[in-house]
Amino acid sequence: MTARKRSATATPPAGTTAALALSDGAIFWGRGIGAAAKKTGEVCFNTSITGYQEILTDPSYAGQIITFTFPHVGNVGTNEEDIETVTPAARGLVLRADITEPSNFRATRHLDAWLKANGLPGICGVDTRALTRHIRDTGAPSGTIVHAPDGKLDAEALVAEAKAWPGLEGMDLAKDVTTRQSYSWDETAWQLGRGYGKLAKPRFNVVAVDYGAKRNILRCLAQAGCKVTVVPASASAEDILRHKPDGVFLSNGPGDPAATGIYAVPVIRALLEKRVPIFGICLGHQLLALALGAQTKKLHLGHRGANHPVQDLETGKVEITSQNHGFAVIPETLPKTAVVTHISLFDKTNEGLRCTDRPAFSVQYHPEASPGPQDAHYLFERFTALMANPKAA
C-alpha cells in the first residue's frame, strides 16, 4: 500500500470552481460541473465505461459521491429513458475530463444541464486514477464535494465537514429512497426503436419491497410476466400478503443492511414462515441473509462496476455481472438450511444464496444490469419458475 499524504496545495489554483475534500485531509481542486451545491457522503468509484446516467439514478448510490474511473463521461448526453429512478440519489460525481457536447441519436440533454436540473454537483479535472488507487488502498473515505462558481473554497472547512460525516456504517438510507406509497408497475424491457413495452398478460402477481429499487428490476420482472406491486420499505408482512402475491421481491438499496434490517428482517422472516417464494437482489440479498440469521460486513472498498465475474457454483459457469455494493454476507454465518450459490471470482466474497427448506433465493449482484452485461437475466425466469412450482425448492 502506498502511503499518501494530503495534497500540498491548501489554496486552490486560479480558475478553480470545485473541490473534493476527504476526511483524511486530502483535497482535490477542479472545475465545477452541474449544480452549484455542496454535498457530503462516502466517496466510492465505479469502473463501468458505459451507463453513467443509470449509475447516477441508481438509488443504491444514496449517500455516495461517485468517482468514474473512465475519463470521458457525458459523451452520449442524457435522455428520458436511461434512468433508474426519477431523482438521482447519488450526492455528487468526480470526473477526469470535462463534459463534452453529447453525440448520440437518443440524447435529449447535455449531461451538465441534466446535473443542474437534478441538483447534483460535480468536479472534473481530477486525477481520478490517483483517487481510485487511494480508495482501493485505504477503503472508501468520507468526502465533501462542492461546486462554487465564485471560486470561494475553504479547504479546512471542507475537510472538517467530511470528517464530521458519520459514514455509511449503521446508516439506514433505504427509508430515504423508498417509495412513499404503493404503486403498480407494468413497464417491460427496452427495445431499440420501440422504447419500453407494456406487460400484456401477467402470469404472476409479485410484490416488490422497495428499499431503493432500480426500475430495470421492475421492468425485468414485468418482462418475465409479473404484475408488480411496489410497496414501501416499511410495509409489514400483512401489508404485503394482503396483495396475495405469488412471490415477493426484495429490492436493492443503499446503506447498511444491518440498519435497514432492524425493521425489514421481521417482515422477511414472516414471509419465510409463510413459504412465500422470495427473490432478493443486492440489499434484498443481504436482508434475506440477515433474516436467515446470517451476518453482513462492510467490504474494504466494495464492488462497483460492470465487469465482475461471478461463478454459479452449481453449474460452474461464469457470468459477467453488474455490481454495486459496499456490504457483503458473511457466508460462514449462514444457517445449514441455506447454501452459497454464487461467489465473486475477484475476491471470493458471497454473491448468492438459496434456501434448501424454503422457496427463497437471492443474489448480491445485479442481474437486471442497466448498466452492464445482461448475462444474469435468466434469474428472473428462475424466480417465475419458483413461483410456478414453489414446492420444488
Binding site: G51, T69, N75, R96, R129
Partner: protein, 1083 residues
C-alpha cells in the same frame, strides 16, 4: 476442466511473410501461443516461412520449420511430425486457409490430426458469406442486404436488389483484397470482375452500402463451457466504407449508451455461439446508423486478428495466449490475469484511458495509385497511443506516425480548378484520404462548422468537436504564447500537445519549450495499463505517460522505478515499407540478451502489432511515441533510482537513430557505436575520407543541394547515375537516371525528401553483383556474420532483392576481399554492435556502396541461416562484453538459405511492378535447403510465386540482356518449355539456336502477348526493360502477370535463378526439415 492430456503435440501454422493485412500481429500472437502451449508441456511444431519473426526462433518451438506455408508443404510436415492437433487460429487468413484445405482434402483425417481452437464448420460458416448471413438471420441479427454471385450475369441481376453504391466483398480473401465500392454501373462491373478473379472460390458478395454509418468492433473470447467475455470494444473514427485496418480507431467505443452497447455485446456473443467458435477469440464487426441506431452485423473473424492484437495491447489482456490455452481445454476461470496476478481471466477488462490506433500508409511509393481509402486495406502499419483523454491519445498517435507530424499539422489544400478554396475544402472533406483528420482540422481553421464537416465527411460530431477544441487551443497559443503557470501548462499538456508542436505554435525551439515546461514544474507521470482501472494493484510495469493535476503529495506517478542497472531499448514505431518486423526482431533479441545478462530492460515503442510491445517481453514497457520529448522524460524518470547504463538506438531502424542526437545532447548515454560514427557513415564527404584512408574503393560520386548542382555532378561522373537522398530508409525517392532529362524529372522530389541534407549522386555500376554483409564488432574485434549475394543486380533496392547465403557465384578470392574490407570498415568506424555493408562487385573489383553501422533488415535472416544469434551478441557487446567472450568461429555452411521479398502490388492497381532502387516490398520469406536451386524454389513458393515445371515461358528482354538470357532459355527449352518471344528477343534466341514462337507486342496488334497471358497460355515471364518508353510499353504485360498470378522475373539474374529452381523442382519434390536439424543446439 483442466488441460487435455490426450494430445501431446500441436502444430501451429504461422502467417508467412508480412503483407498488407497480415503483419507482425501474427508474430505476436503466434509467439504467445508457442510460449503458452510449450509451458503447458506440449511438443510444439511450428511452420512459418518468415525468418524475421520471433516465433521462428528455434528456442520457441520443438521443431521450427521455416518452410513455405502451403497445403502441400504443411502436409509433408504433418507426415513427418505426426502432430496430434493443429491450431489454425494464430496465423491469420493464411493459416486458416491452409488448415481448411488440409481438412477438405482429408489430410488431417488421414494423419489423425484434430483441429483445435476452431473447427472446420465454424471456420466455413464465418468465412462463407452466404452461410454467415443465414446464420445471422437465424439468430435475428440484421445484415446489410446482399447477394452472393458467381458470374457477371448474376452480378447484374443482384444490382437491382442491393442498389448503388454497392460494396463488393470477394469470398476468402485477405483484408478485402479484390473488393471495393462501386458508385456507378461501370465501376460495379469492373470491381466485380476483379473480385471474382481474386476469390479463390470464384465468388463474391455484393452488398447494400452502409457508407457513412458508424463502425464498431467487439473482441470476444469464449471457452468450452460457454463462458464469454468482451475484451474490448473498438469504435472507428472513420465511417463505414473504409477498411477497419485503414481507419483511425478508438478504444473503448465512445458514442454508445449502455443500452446500445449491451445490444452489441449480446449480438457478438450470440454470433460466436451460432457460428460455433467453441474456444478462442473472435472479432465481430458492426455498423450502426447514426440517425436511428439500427445495427447490422458486417462480418466476423473466427481467429485472432489485427484487432485482437490491438485489443490485447489496449487492455493488457493477452487474447492470443488465453485463446491458445482455451484451445487445449482450459476454461477462463482456470486461467490467471497476469497483470494483477490475483484475479482470473474470466472477467471483462475495463480501462481508464483512451486508446487511439492510427494506420500508416506509403502511397508515395506507388505513384500509379491514387491515395484513396476503400474496403481493400492499403496501410502497411499502425501506431497505437494511450492518453487520459481522446485528445491526448489522438495527438500522441499523430506524433507516433513517423511522418514528421507533431500533432494536427496544417496541410495545404490547394484551390480547386475554379480557384475556389471553400469548394476545394468541401471536396477534400468528402474524399476518404489517409489524412482526413488533418483535412478536418484544416477545415475548422478555415471556419467550417462542425455540423457541416460531419455532414460531408460522415465523421461523428463527438470526434470533430474534440478536434475543434484542439484547433482553438492552437490558435490561443499562437496568439498568447506558451502557458505561464503550472495549471496552464498542465491543461495544455493534458490536451496532448507535444513540446515540438508547442514550439511551432509559439515560435520557439523545442528545447526552449521543454525548459519552460520543466521550469513550471510540469513533467509527465506514468500510469499503468492494468485491465481493471486501478481496482486491483498491478504488478506489471506496463506504462504510458499522462499529465495530471496534483493529488495527495503532488502529481501521482505509478512507475515505481527500480534501483537496478538498466538499459533502454528504443523500438521502431509503426511498420512501413523499409522498416518492418526485422527491426522489432532485433529489439526483442536485445531485450532477451540483456535480460539474460542481468540488466533491467526497458522498452519504448508505439507499435501494437509487435512482440516488443508485449508486456512480458521487456522488464518494463513504456507504450509511447518515439520522440525526443517522451524518451528524455522516460530516461529522466528511470534515472531517479538505479543506473541507466544507456539507450540502444541502433536496433529499431531509422526511428530511434533519428533520436540519438537529441538524447546525446540531453546527456543521455547512447550504447554502442557513437552517433558521430553513424553520422560519418551517412556524411558523404567524411565517409569518402575514411575510405581513402582505408584504401577502399567506391563508385564515383558527388553531392548536390540543388537541381543545378546535381546536373553538374552527374555530367562529371557520367550517366547512368543513382540519385539518393540522405538519411532515408527503404530507398525513399531513390532513382537510377540514364540522362539529364530523366534527372530533371526526379531531382525535385529527391531534394525535397533530403531536406537540409544533400542529395547523393553516385555513378551507377551496370550489371554489377550486389553483396550485403552483416557483421558484429566491439571496436576491436570484428565477426563477419553473413555474406549475402543478391540475385538481382546492383541498383535494385537490397530490401527488394532476393539473396543467397552463402553466395552462389562469387569466387573465394572476392569473398575474402569482402571480408577484409568489412573488418577494415568496422574498425575504421569504431563499430560497437552491428554493422551492415553493401558492396558491388564488377569485373572482379569490390566497391563499397553503403555502410550502415546499425542493425539491418537482414539480421534475422542471417541469424536463422547461420544459427548465430547476432542481434543478441551485439546487444551484449553494447552493454560492455567483449566479442571474444562469445567464441564465434567461422563455419562453412552445408546448406543454402535464400531470402525473397514479397510485394503489395496487387493492392495498388495502376502501379508498376518493376523493381528499382526505391524499396517496395512489405516482407520476406526464407527458403532453406541443401542447394541453391531447392532453396530458391522454396523461397519462391513461400513468396507465392508459383514456378511452373513445364509449360510456356514468355521472354522479352532489353538488348543488354539478350546474351545473358540465352542460358536460362536454353535450360527451360531442355525441360520441354515452349518459348514465346517478341521481335528482337525472338530473333536473338532463334539465332542462338532455340525454337521460338513469335507473338505480337501489345503495340503490334491483337492477339498479342497480354491476350496470350490472360487466356492462360503463359506460365512464366522473363521481362527486362530499359528507358521510360519501353517501361511504359510493357506495363500492361507485368500487370497481366501480377493479376493472373503468373511467375515473373524482371532481371536476368532472377531468370537464371528461376531456371535453376525449376531444375531443382523437376528433380523431385521438395523435402522439409526443421531449423533444429540444421543447427545443433538452440540459438
Amino acid at each position: 476442466m483442466p488441460k487435455r492430456t490426450d494430445i501431446k503435440s500441436i502444430l501451429i501454422i504461422g502467417a508467412g511473410p508480412i503483407v498488407i493485412g497480415q503483419a507482425c500481429e501474427f508474430d505476436y500472437s503466434g509467439t504467445q501461443a508457442c510460449r503458452a502451449l510449450r509451458q503447458e508441456g506440449y511438443r510444439i511444431i511450428l511452420v512459418n516461412s518468415n525468418p524475421a519473426t520471433i516465433m521462428t526462433d528455434p528456442s520457441l518451438a520443438d521443431a521450427t520449420y521455416v518452410e513455405p506455408v502451403t497445403p502441400e508443404i504443411v502436409e509433408k510436415i504433418i507426415a513427418k511430425e505426426r502432430p496430434d492437433a493443429l491450431l489454425p487460429t494464430m496465423g491469420g487468413q493464411t493459416a486458416l486457409n491452409v488448415a481448411m484445405k488440409l481438412a477438405d482434402t482429408g489430410v488431417l483425417e488421414k494423419f489423425g490430426v484434430e483441429l483445435i481452437g476452431a473447427n472446420r464448420d465454424a471456420i466455413d460458416k464465418a468465412e462463407d458469406r452466404l452461410r454467415f448471413r443465414d446464420a445471422m438471420d437465424k439468430i435475428g441479427l440484421e445484415s446489410p442486404k446482399s447477394v452472393l454471385v458467381k458470374s457477371m450475369d448474376e452480378a447484374k441481376e443482384a444490382l437491382a436488389k442491393v442498389g448503388l453504391p454497392a460494396i463488393i466483398r470477394p469470398s476468402f480473401t485477405l483484408a478485402g483484397t479484390g473488393g471495393g465500392i462501386a458508385y456507378n454501373e461501370e465501376e460495379y462491373e469492373q470491381i466485380v470482375f476483379g473480385a471474382l478473379r481474386a476469390s479463390p472460390v470464384g465468388s463474391t458478395l455484393v452488398e447494400e452500402s452502409v457508407l457513412g454509418w458508424k463502425e464498431f468492433e467487439m473482441e470476444v473470447v469464449r471457452d468450452r463451457k460457454d463462458n464469454c467475455i468482451i475484451v474490448c470494444s473498438i469504435e472507428n473514427v472513420d465511417p463505414m466504407g473504409i477498411h477497419t485496418g485503414d481507419s483511425v480507431t478508438v478504444a473503448p467505443a465512445l458514442t454508445l449508451t449502455d443500452k446500445e452497447f449491451q445490444i452489441m455485446r449480446n449480438a457478438s456473443i450470440a454470433t460466436l455461439r451460432e457460428i460455433g467458435v467453441d474456444t478462442g477469440g473472435s472479432n465481430v464487426q458492426f455498423a450502426i446508423d447514426p440517425k436511428t441506431g439500427r445495427m447490422v452485423v458486417i462480418e466476423m473473424n473466427p481467429r485472432v486478428s489485427r484487432s485482437s492484437a490491438l485489443a490485447s495491447k489496449a487492455t493488457g489482456f493477452p487474447i492470443a495466449k488465453i485463446a491458445a490455452k482455451l484451445a487445449v481445454g482450459y476454461t477462463l476461470d482456470e486461467l490467471d490475469n497476469d497483470i494483477t496476478g490475483v484475479t482470473p481471466a474470466s472477467f471483462e477488462p475495463t480501462i481508464d484511458y483512451v486508446v487511439v490506433k492510427m494506420p500508416r500508409f506509403t502511397f508515395e511509393k506507388f505513384p500509379g495509385t491514387p491515395a484513396l481509402l476503400s474496403t481493400s486495406m492499403k496501410s502497411v502499419g499502425e501506431a497505437m497511443s494511450i492518453g487520459r483523454s481522446f485528445q491526448e491519445a489522438l495527438q500522441k498517435a499523430l506524433r507516433s506516425m513517423e511522418t514528421g507530424l507533431t500533432g494536427l499539422d496544417e496541410i495545404d489544400i490547394p484551390d480547386d480548378d475554379a480557384g475556389k478554396i471553400r469548394e476545394a475544402i468541401v471536396a477534400a472533406l468528402a474524399k476518404p484520404t489517409p489524412d482526413r483528420v488533418l483535412v478536418i482540422a484544416q477545415a475548422l481553421r478555415f471556419g467550417f462548422a462542425v455540423e457541416e464537416i460531419c455532414r460531408i465527411s460522415s465523421f461523428d460530431p463527438w470526434f470533430v468537436r474534440q478536434i475543434e477544441d484542439l484547433v482553438s487551443a492552437e490558435a490561443e497559443i499562437r496568439k498568447k504564447g506558451l502557458p505561464k503557470d503550472f495549471a496552464g501548462w498542465t491543461r495544455v499538456k493534458q490536451m496532448g500537445f507535444g513540446d515540438a508542436k508547442l514550439a511551432q505554435l509559439a515560435k520557439k525551439s523545442e528545447a526552449e519549450v521543454a525548459a519552460a515546461r520543466r521550469a513550471a514544474g510540469v513533467v509527465p507521470v506514468f500510469k499503468r495499463i492494468d485491465t481493471c482501472a486501478a481496482e486491483f494493484a498491478s504488478k506489471t510495469p506496463y506504462l504510458y505517460s499522462a499529465y495530471e493535476t496534483p493529488s495527495f503529495d503532488g502529481v501521482e506517478s505509478e512507475d515505481e522505478v527500480s534501483d537496478r542497472d538498466k538499459v533502454v531499448i528504443l523500438g521502431g514505431g509503426p511498420n512501413r515499407i523499409g522498416q518492418g518486423i526485422e527491426f522489432d526482431y532485433c529489439c526483442v533479441h536485445a531485450v532477451y540478451a540483456l535480460r539474460e545478462a542481468g540488466f533491467e530492460t526497458i522498452m519504448v515503442n508505439c507499435n501494437p502489432e509487435t512482440v516488443s510491445t508485449d508486456y512480458d517481453t521487456a522488464d518494463r514497457l513504456y507504450f509511447e511515441p518515439l520522440t525526443p520529448e517522451t524518451v528524455i522524460e522516460i530516461v529522466r524518470r528511470e534515472q531517479a533510482k538505479g543506473r541507466v547504463l544507456g539507450v540502444i538506438c541502433q536496433f529499431g531502424g531509422q526511428t530511434p537513430l533519428r533520436l540519438a542526437h537529441a538524447l546525446a545532447d540531453a546527456g543521455i548515454p547512447i550504447l554502442g557505436t557513437s552517433p558521430d560514427a553513424i553520422d560519418l557513415a551517412e556524411d558523404r564527404e567524411r565517409f569518402a575520407k575514411l575510405l581513402d584512408k582505408l584504401k577502399l574503393e567506391q563508385p564515383a560520386s558527388g553531392t548536390a543541394h540543388s537541381a543545378k548542382e546535381a546536373e553538374e555532378v552527374a555530367a562529371k561522373i557520367g550517366y547512368p547515375v543513382l540519385l539518393r537522398p540522405s538519411y532515408v530508409l527503404g530507398g525513399r525517392a531513390m532513382k537510377i537516371v540514364h540522362s539529364v532529362d530523366q534527372l530533371r524529372g526526379f531531382i525535385a522530389e529527391a531534394v525535397r525528401v533530403s531536406g537540409k541534407n544533400p542529395v547523393l549522386v553516385d555513378s551507377y555500376l551496370q550489371e554489377a553483383i550486389e553483396v550485403d554483409v552483416d557483421a558484429v564488432a566491439d571496436g576491436e574485434g570484428v565477426h563477419v556474420a553473413g555474406i549475402m549475394e543478391h540475385i538481382e543486380e546492383a541498383g535494385i533496392h537490397s530490401g527488394d532483392s532476393a539473396c543467397s547465403l552463402p553466395p552462389y557465384s562469387l569466387p573465394k578470392k572476392i569473398l575474402d576481399e569482402i571480408e577484409r574490407q568489412t573488418v577494415e570498415l568496422a574498425r575504421g568506424l569504431g563499430v560497437v554492435g552491428l554493422m551492415n555493408v553493401q558492396y558491388a562487385v564488377k569485373d572482379a573489383r569490390v566497391y563499397v556502396l553503403e555502410v550502415n553501422p546499425r542493425a539491418s533488415r537482414t539480421v534475422p535472416f542471417v541469424a536463422k541461416a547461420t544459427g548465430v544469434p547476432i542481434a543478441k551478441i551485439a546487444a551484449r557487446i553494447m552493454a560492455g562484453e567483449p566479442l571474444a567472450s562469445f567464441k564465434l568461429k567461422k563455419r562453412k555452411l552445408d546448406h543454402v538459405a535464400v531470402k525473397e521479398a514479397v510485394f503489395p502490388f496487387a493492392r495498388f492497381p495502376g502501379s508498376d511492378t518493376i523493381l528499382g532502387p526505391e524499396m517496395k516490398s512489405t516482407g520476406e520469406v526464407m527458403g532453406i535447403d541443401a542447394d541453391f536451386g531447392h532453396a530458391f524454389a522454396k523461397a519462391q513458393l513461400g513468396a507465392s510465386q508459383k514456378l511452373p515445371v513445364s509449360g510456356s515461358v514468355f521472354i522479352s528482354v532489353r538488348d543488354a540482356d539478350k546474351k545473358g538470357i540465352v542460358g536460362p532459355a536454353r535450360k527451360l527449352a531442355s525441360f520441354g518449355f515452349k518459348i514465346l518471344a517478341t521481335g528482337g528477343t525472338a530473333t536473338f534466341l532463334e539465332k542462338s539456336g532455340l525454337e521460338v514462337v513469335r507473338v505480337n507486342k501489345v503495340l503490334e496488334g491483337r492477339p498479342h502477348i497480354v491476350d496470350a497471358m490472360k487466356s492462360g497460355q503463359v506460365h512464366l515471364v522473363f521481362n527486362t526493360t530499359e528507358g521510360a518508353q519501353a517501361v511504359s510499353d510493357s506495363f500492361s504485360l507485368r500487370q497481366a502477370a501480377l493479376m493472373g498470378g503468373i511467375a515473373y522475373y524482371t532481371t536476368v539474374s532472377g531468370a537464371r535463378a528461376a531456371a535453376e529452381a525449376i531444375a531443382a523442382l523437376r528433380s523431385g519434390s521438395l523435402e522439409v526439415a526443421p531449423l533444429q536439424a540444421y543447427f545443433k543446439g538452440a540459438f
